[in-house]
């Protein structure tokens, strides 16, 4: 993992001092609320429906056991003893005291954590693949580049007051697990025919009110040119992005208005001025960044015998076998696996973890996974480097701690935003809907048999729950002051990223579980042996689902 040096620490301390001063001036009435607003947002602080909310960055999802333990302490001391993992791999506190926030930032800094630009109209936390560095389909490990871009974006003097928020995601694998095509900038690491490392650059994707799949504007950008190229995109956006209407201010609107070709051309023209500047990465800097993400001390293991042991354990224990299939993933190194900890047991808000659970994850990371863990876009956590021969023991401990629900990637691994229970922008609640669906599908064997299925819930059009790219997406809408839910089908966050299609008129909260059941029934009745839900949907289209869901009772 990246380690802070004197420079990183100095910059972060200066930021905390700056924010402490701003908070004091705000509390003393010397800084107007509307002027304080973007300043506090750029330090992760929202003022929500019930209490302030603080969003803590987990840069590209990497977190170590020391940080997890300190977070546990922070949730106890400053909050109600739990936190929430978000779809941008961040961690949120929902009950801090406003005036405590500078102290919380100081505590976070002790373990090299922060809330820098986790919100506001600036470059946000960089997100990436939770299996970076360990996945078999990796082309290039994205994490060194994530860190380089993290540093470039933090406290960038030119881009702190953009028209709107700005999200960058990076993947280095064949399979895109970072949903890069629904980000303001999506970067895909690639190798040229000559073996050089570079980026495919996508721009103008996004969810929210106007969901758009990003446009490819550069087929191959040599790695050393990444910072000036990003700077060129941001400068064009800062100058030309709309500022008259908050809902038309994202870069996707600009890219659409100009057309991707014209936008790309403007970027290239701007880039011409910058491409020989000091922002070109040096070989030493790329090497320095890579030096933080070297392999942990893996043992040389006999994969076949480790696998034989696991298979034997699985043959004896169905529950373990299911968990293996759903929550354990192949690793690049023989004898190792990656394990996803489900933060989605029924009855717990998706992504919530208690202080004690954070400490348990820290302990398990220390014992089984070189002291590191990761957060995921699907609001779960990962231990990336577990020996196969440890899996059975780990599973037993995960079961005790409530992390072993064998539902990763399945219907009950629901992605949901905090929604109306916490968020002041919400049209409707999302957490109780998630729970009602989990209760409807409480038969583990049945859910297991349904296979891969992404169900995403957002409490309003801002789409923090990524409902457009769920195979099944649920959106909270407001109808004359009452909470209703619109259902869409067929979205995808994968390489063939696509947006879901609305099924029809919305439903009351109590109808939702049954509607989902009908949709699932259509799938189960029509699927072929190899088909996952999304395949059947793509073959059949919306119609059969629509007919079933809206059929009049006869």
């Amino acid at each position: 993992m990246y380690k802070y040096d004197q420079y990183d620490n100095k910059i972060l301390q200066q930021r905390i001092a700056q924010f402490r001063n701003q908070m004091e001036r705000f509390l003393a009435g010397e800084l107007a609320p509307e002027e304080f607003l973007p300043l506090r947002l750029q330090n992760g602080l929202y003022i929500q429906r019930l209490a302030p909310m603080l969003r803590i960055n987990v840069p590209y999802g990497m977190i170590n056991s020391r940080q997890l333990r300190h977070l546990a302490y922070i949730t106890r001391r400053f909050d109600k003893g739990y936190c929430h993992v978000t779809t941008r791999q961040n961690i949120q506190l929902h009950w801090p005291e406003l005036s405590d926030v500078p102290d919380i930032l100081a505590e976070l800094a002790k373990v090299e954590m922060h809330c820098t630009q986790s919100s506001g109209n600036c470059v946000r936390n960089i997100t990436s693949d939770q299996f970076a560095g360990v996945t078999q389909d990796e082309i290039v490990d994205p994490r060194p580049y994530c860190e380089i871009i993290r540093q470039w974006s933090h406290f960038h003097p030119e881009f702190a007051f953009l028209p709107r928020k700005f999200k960058i995601a990076i993947t280095g694998s064949e399979q895109d697990r970072a949903a890069i095509q629904v980000h303001d900038i999506g970067l895909q690491l690639v190798r040229s025919d000559a073996g050089e490392i570079g980026f495919k650059v996508y721009v103008g994707g996004g969810l929210g009110r106007t969901p758009v799949i990003a446009s490819l504007i550069r087929e191959f950008l040599p790695q050393e040119q990444i910072l000036p190229y990003l700077e060129a995109i941001l400068r064009i956006y800062n100058q030309l992005g709309r500022r008259d209407n908050k809902f038309r201010a994202r870069i996707k609107i600009l890219v659409r208005a100009l057309g991707p070709d014209v936008f790309a051309q403007k970027v290239e023209e701007e880039f011409e001025y910058m491409k020989d500047g000091s922002n070109i990465l040096t070989e030493e800097e790329i090497e320095r960044a890579k030096s933080f993400f070297t392999e942990p001390p893996y043992e040389t293991l006999d994969d076949a015998s480790a696998q034989a042991q696991v298979d034997a354990q699985a043959a004896d224990n169905r529950a373990f076998s299911k968990w293996l299939q759903r929550n354990v993933r192949a690793h690049r190194v023989p004898g190792y696996s990656s394990v996803t900890l489900s933060l989605k047991p029924t009855g717990v808000a998706p992504g919530d973890a208690t202080d004690r659970q954070l400490e348990i994850i820290a302990d398990l990371a220390d014992t089984y996974s070189f002291g590191e863990a990761r957060t995921t876009r699907e609001q779960n956590m990962v231990l990336a480097d577990v020996k196969k021969t440890d899996l059975f023991e780990l599973w037993q401990q995960l079961k005790q701690a409530g992390f072993a629900t064998p539902n990763i990637g399945s219907l009950t691994d629901i992605v949901a935003c905090p929604g109306g229970d916490f968020c002041s922008l919400a049209n409707a609640k999302s957490i109780p809907i998630a729970e009602a669906i989990q209760r409807q599908f409480d038969d583990l064997d049945y859910v297991y048999d349904l296979g891969d299925l992404d169900l995403n819930i957002s409490g309003c059009m801002n789409a923090c729950g990524h409902h457009h790219i769920g195979h099944i997406g649920i959106l909270g809408v407001d109808k004359k002051g009452e909470e209703f839910y619109q259902v869409q089908l067929g979205g995808s966050a994968a390489n063939d990223a696509r947006l879901g299609t609305v099924l029809g008129p919305s439903f009351g909260a109590d109808e939702v579980p049954e509607v989902i059941q009908k949709i699932i029934d259509v799938y189960v009745e029509n699927r072929t042996d190899e088909e996952q839900f999304i395949d059947t949907y793509q073959r059949l289209g919306n119609q059969p689902f629509k007919e079933r869901v809206y059929a009049k009772a006869s």
């Binding site: 420079y7 910059i11 200066q14 700056q18 406290f155 030119e158 400068r235 800062n238 100058q239 500022r243």
Partner: protein, 168 residues
């Protein structure tokens, strides 16, 4: 005389900021003395105004610095106007004026600029801050110029990014 922050010090504001004219810009009379005129007046009366050495020009946030063309080399002062502090376009304008068009004179932020933007604006090349009639304690505000003294990125004040300067 009203005060402003310039090059880190609190000094008299010797320039008058001329509002955008309601009439045709070629018709307005630019008074004697140090005056910062709106871009439209500059463009309409450039021939006359460029003979004076006490004329500056202000750009609104939606006016790009390209509009000044070669005048950038000669003007003693350019002001960047914030209609609203959260309108971040002047940050890019400042960098373009300094780094691309080579502006050497006084680069002044005017309008609804706030103290908490001073450090970043200084980094982008702004060296003077006129808070207008906002109620601001300048002695306190000036401290914000150095909210940060170390930076990751290259910018106008520090042309080398940290990665080219880092010593471990």
């Amino acid at each position: 005389m009203p005060k402003l922050v310039k090059d880190g010090a609190i000094v008299d504001n010797e320039w008058t900021l001329m509002a955008k004219p309601e009439d045709a810009p070629e018709a307005v009379e630019v008074p004697a003395g140090q005056v910062i005129v709106p871009l439209s007046v500059w463009q309409a009366q450039q021939e006359k105004l460029q003979t004076r050495n006490d004329i500056g020009v202000w750009l609104n946030s939606d006016e790009a610095p390209e509009a000044l063309q070669d005048a950038v080399q000669k003007l003693p002062l350019i002001a960047l106007h914030f209609p609203l502090f959260s309108d971040g376009r002047p940050f890019s304008s400042a960098r373009l004026l300094r780094d691309r068009y080579g502006f050497k004179g006084e680069l002044r932020a005017v309008g609804h600029v706030i103290r908490d933007q001073m450090c970043y604006l200084r980094r982008c090349g702004v060296n003077a801050f006129d808070f207008g009639d906002q109620d601001i304690n300048l002695e306190e505000a000036v401290k914000s110029l150095d909210d940060f003294t170390e930076y990751y990125q290259a910018s106008h004040d520090q042309p080398l990014p940290l990665f080219r300067r880092r010593v471990s």
